[in-house]
Symmetry: C2
Subunit: 325 residues, 2 copies
């Protein structure tokens, strides 16, 4: 039986993930993950992807091998040139101007597609995860940065130059916090992982009582969003406040998305969603306060259902969607 699988490749700043994704949906056939170590350069990672792909292909399809794979879908942090298949500049990888689509396609010996990581995660949640079967979906990815993807009528909105969905750089405060992009008051400047940690540190500097300092043995620079989450699980009140404040900012951004797109679902993806109701209760309440009731009532706001695999599944799904028309 040929054409059973699509190879998915998810290139993150932290991890590489390669998986055999069934053409028709369903369980992943095989998956490998390993640290990216992007500082070794793009070629080293392409070699890693090649080895991981060989293992994944052998495991998922011991008889047919590569013949059972129709192609490879690649997801990667942007900005990308989707037409040319090139990474334009990626602060998290440092591989500027690299022709990732062609190089990965050659290395694994399959036709290849490319899209940015946030589009892949959104598409994965829509194709196989929390937003399955819906026609109008917004994905919000929370990590080092804040990204997003928009699906209307079952298609990703890519925009005039392939950069639609830049949710993180929505201004929510005209003269607000400085963002890494140079702008003031972006959502990302309040609610990305590093900015959650930064706000937590600022509060401690201002005298807040918390076990956070203890968790990092007094070295406040070591506080990350994960440390804040750990403090929260230990019942730390101040960590709870930081998460509530994060939820409020995310709620403002998501209310804007609900008013603009009137989606059936907003799927929130990323480590911060582990805070669960500590995040989602105040977030939903902020959205309800700010967005139109009819749009709020039409929209579920949920955590992604594929925490480790949305990106790799979505990358594979986008290959199928792109090659079917």
């Amino acid at each position: 039986m040929s054409d059973r699988w699509v190879l998915g490749v998810d290139i993150g700043g932290t991890n590489l993930v390669v998986a055999a994704v069934p053409y028709a949906g369903g369980e992943i056939g095989a998956l490998r993950t390993q640290p990216t170590q992007p500082e070794r350069g793009a070629e080293a990672s392409v070699n890693d992807i090649e080895s991981m792909a060989e293992e994944v292909i052998a495991e998922a399809s011991p008889e047919g091998g590569l013949d059972d794979f129709v192609g490879v879908g690649i997801g990667c942090p942007g900005p990308l040139d989707l037409d040319q298949g090139i990474i334009l500049s990626t602060p998290n990888l440092g591989w500027d101007g690299y022709p990732i689509r062609g190089r990965v396609g050659e290395a694994v010996g399959l036709p290849a597609s490319l899209d940015n990581d946030a589009n892949c995660a959104t598409y994965g949640e829509w194709w196989q995860g929390a937003a399955r079967g819906l026609t109008s979906v917004v994905g919000v990815t929370l990590g080092t940065g804040i990204g997003g993807g928009l699906i209307t009528e079952g298609h990703l909105v890519r925009g005039a130059s392939g950069s639609a969905g830049e949710i993180g750089h929505m201004t929510i405060q005209v003269d607000g916090r400085q963002c890494g992009c140079g702008n003031l008051g972006c959502l990302e400047a309040y609610a990305s992982g590093p900015n959650i940690a930064l706000r937590a540190r600022e509060g401690l500097d201002a005298g807040a009582e918390s076990i956070l300092s203890e968790l990092v043995a007094g070295d406040l620079d070591r506080i990350t969003a994960a440390t804040v989450h750990e403090a929260l699980t230990r019942g730390d009140r101040y960590a709870g406040e930081v998460i509530r404040e994060t939820a409020r900012y995310l709620g403002v951004g998501i209310a804007n998305l609900v008013n603009l797109f009137n989606p059936e679902m907003v799927v929130v993806v990323g480590g911060v969603t582990r805070a669960d109701r500590h995040l989602f209760d105040p977030l939903r309440s902020e959205v309800r306060k700010r967005a139109f009731a009819s749009a709020v009532n039409a929209c579920e706001i949920v955590a992604g259902a594929l925490p480790q695999t949305a990106g790799v599944i979505g990358a594979a799904g986008i290959f199928l969607a792109d090659s079917s028309h």
Copy 2:
């Protein structure tokens, strides 16, 4: 020759417009406009629309009459129930729960479609105006309120409950000015007509020097956005400041739209656009400051090309689009 025309009906808080729009695009065949006077009730306006339609039909098609019209497209302030063809609640008209689509269709004797005024204006500019031939367009309507419409791949994005495009209620300042919708910091609370006037009055109260007070014979409550525009054309420095500030807020909102949708064009429609370069120069510069360069470079920001007729043409175009699939 049958099926040559579509009737367009644009129901505004101020004016009713009825026009014969050619099926294949091109010059309007006949147009009537008159004050809405919505306080007389919806039935009185439907009677007016019926009389105006008779005149328009007779003028555009003296021989074929109604037989040369395929249908009537209606545009109306929302929120609307698009499935049922009902006005849910319209602060500007006061006709709550009124079955506008059925009543106008019956009155003129044609199959009818309904959409909100901002979608109609956006669609009109896309079908026949400034955004003709593009696939990815955002329309921004500036008036008593701020509305919007989104076109991707040549289709209006309507969303899960028909309310997509609520651009005016995007939060741009978390704890900002009180908006009529109950929320804080909406774009509309800064840049709608009444809020431009309000900001102008606040500045005068705080001692700003301007000919504005003269223009309203000292009665500051009579200042409207049109008064600010008149002062601007007379070279009033303070009016220039008010418009620049308006442009800056609109620039923040439009930068968010450029980052989210990456459109080929943002078309700005409404009276405020008469300020021309006084509005658009600082607006474009704010967008360039805040949005991603690749998205900014891919996007033109222009005033609408159909200042009086975008709504009525778009309403007719939406009838054709809705009835063709």
